[in-house]
Symmetry: C2
Subunit: 421 residues, 2 copies
């Protein structure tokens, strides 16, 4: 992509009303733009990151048998009244149409998915099945905060599983847990799995995937020696007390919840009459699980833990572009032309294997380098009069590793280990 | 994809409240499910079609320089008041949050995109640029009708262009017109370009892309000899009168509008103060165009014009699967095993190049064939005791072309011309 056509405009300063690291970095880098409190546009760069996260999630959800669909945001009041959540869910946006009918804006989709499933004839032979979507959700949060970590409009992946037996549900729950760990690893965020409340869903505990960072709004109590970790809301222990598992002293940390998996059991299926016919011919409510993950929040969390003083350092798999190619200016017209030609040739060649942002702008080296650091593609490649004299380019990983001067013809060989393809 | 895991459930009869061809076919085929009037879930099959349409549109938008982003659905009242459309747009869903702030649910995005663009420093050198998104829109239509042709919640691609000169805008308008024709061709719908009103946007005419079909809700006056075509609302002529262009007798036809392109000029940019600095150093409002296309409507229109008495006949590029592979049952257990083995081998092989729905269900030939016709993948491949005796399979295009018995090892060669890869 030519940078001059990419609708990228970076900012030297973040707006004063944004406090969080992710919001500052993403706003300055030209990734997002605020429309209202908790409501952001994903500008072209931000959109590319979202799409890459979407792809990682889709691959891992498909790998555990997930089948993708897309449910509506407009959800009739009557459906939400069946589970009592029209009255009890406090973040529900409610809307009345011109004809007086009332709708909730989808804050979550248990009611809709259970409604779809109960419309079918389901035998034990059809179970289990796993349905997921990636879609915009709406929640009227009293306080939207932390940039895209807690928005009023945000993008979420929600997976729902349906089983004939509790054993089967439990086994799948563990499988999804593993899939989640793969997703976060691929997206460059290190998580720990903390026990948390089952919420209004269940008496059973749920599991949260927590990214430790000072910018998080959750507090977790963790053991640094074993894997004991709980959300402070249910921990029953404080920092300094002994770990119930290994006796080590517990610590307290702030963290961002990037995913949460729940045991629903028959809470929704029994109330909404989503039954299947079991082996013995009797009708039973399906046993359900639900598994959430915020795409926009994951993008924010990835920014929150991968940056330096100059900007974001995107993890390879979710960077908006693999490479940022920068031709330098020269005062000598003939040399300028040679640099441009060599750069464009390389640009064409690299695009066969990589996504490349090509800085074709008429700007100073300083401005181009500052933008490259702020945008944060994993590798910067610079062609200048000096490098060209040795038929080379400078290849510099964004993660701080040393820059190398590499023969242009060898660049692709050089890139493989650097960006870990 | 294994059909037993694909969450596909076809219906013998369409619900009685659905009148339109597309709704009947898509509901029976298991593509969509109604949640409320004008609000549908895209079930896994429908979701696949949407994704394929999205891909075609993305390719063609990128080819005309479009840069993709994603704008919010929650849009502050104040923004809509700037253009006066908070009061004047009658299909706007309005919502009030817990703190009393009012929002519109995005029915269209001129206000938001113009708001984004005015926040930037734009010089004539930065122009033109072209921004698009594919996103859910909400319109409180008095009467939702015709299945997914006119929904209250639907998916739309909207492109906005920004120019320094009217000549440049005009040239781009023609370029988008050509891109639209490519998209509709690839999606298997034949369109004609009809002149229509500029709506509230402009005094200039707009252009609609109309698919002629009895199920359409628009009426167009067309000449069958030349390319004169106008929406009846502005035609100034009736069927039977002379074509103003060639003198031929005009006809009247029903049609579905699948796309509409508009001249916005400076209507939004002057009111909202989206200025650029021109060559002479003066500030001028940017000159705008907007270009809409309904993804869900295009899916409905494609179904509406590509079907027979047995179900949908999907155009190749937007079919949910390229191939439907069906192993037949046999009463002989050893033969049954041979059929399954040969089918699975072929399934693995075909997946290297095609998307394949594999009917692994324990069902009768009749049930499997009926489902295959209803679902409408472009090619059906059947392996039975009889075909296997000749190391062959039956290859049958869904479009009515004659079935062929083809050696299994030659199937890929055979498929190339059949499904026009």
């Amino acid at each position: 992509m030519l940078q001059s056509r990419a609708f990228i405009q970076t900012k030297k300063e973040a707006p004063k009303d944004e406090q969080s690291v992710n919001a500052k970095l993403l706003l300055r880098g030209g990734y997002i733009e605020k429309l209202a409190s908790g409501v952001y546009t994903f500008l072209p760069l931000g959109f590319l990151v979202l799409k890459r996260i979407e792809r990682v999630i889709r691959e891992e959800m498909d790998a555990v048998g997930g089948v993708e669909l897309l449910m509506p945001a407009l959800q009739p009041k009557e459906l939400w009244e069946e589970t009592g959540r029209w009255a009890s869910m406090d973040v529900l946006y409610k809307i009345k149409d011109a004809q007086g009918r009332e709708f909730a804006l989808g804050a979550t989709h248990e009611e809709v998915i259970t409604g779809i499933v109960r419309n079918r004839t389901v035998s034990y032979k059809d179970l289990p099945f796993y349905l997921y979507q990636m879609q915009t959700k709406f929640r009227d949060e009293l306080r939207a905060k932390s940039g895209i970590l807690r928005g009023r409009e945000f993008i979420m992946k929600d997976l729902y599983s349906f089983h004939a037996t509790e054993e089967d549900r439990k086994a799948y729950y563990e499988k999804v847990k593993e899939a989640y760990l793969k997703i976060f690893k691929r997206c460059g965020v290190s998580v720990l799995v903390a026990e948390a409340s089952g919420g209004s869903f269940s008496k059973e505990i749920s599991h949260e995937f927590q990214v430790r960072t000072p910018g998080g709004e959750d507090i977790i109590i963790v053991c640094s020696r074993c894997d004991w970790a709980k959300n402070s809301e249910i921990a029953g222990k404080r920092a300094g007390e002994q770990c119930p598992s290994c006796g080590n002293a517990l610590g307290e940390e702030r963290s961002i919840e990037v995913g949460n998996i729940f045991t629903l059991g028959t809470k929704f299926s029994s109330v909404m009459k989503a039954f299947f016919t079991d082996k013995d011919g009797t009708e039973k409510p399906m046993i359900m699980g639900c598994y959430g993950m915020g795409l926009s929040r994951l993008m924010g969390a990835a920014a929150e833990v991968n940056y330096d003083e100059r900007g974001i350092v995107w993890p390879r798999e979710i960077a908006p572009y693999d490479l940022h190619l920068i031709p330098m200016q020269s005062k000598d017209a003939a040399m300028q032309k040679r640099i441009a030609q060599a750069s464009e040739q390389l640009y064409q060649k690299l695009q066969e294997r990589y996504t490349v942002l090509y800085d074709d702008r008429d700007a100073s080296a300083g401005a181009k380098f500052a933008d490259a650091d702020l945008i944060g593609a994993p590798v910067r490649i610079v062609i200048s009069e000096k490098t060209l004299a040795a038929e080379s380019a400078e290849v510099k990983p964004r993660n701080g590793a040393t820059a190398k001067i590499v023969k242009i013809k060898d660049i692709e060989k050089e890139l493989c280990p650097v960006i870990q393809l």
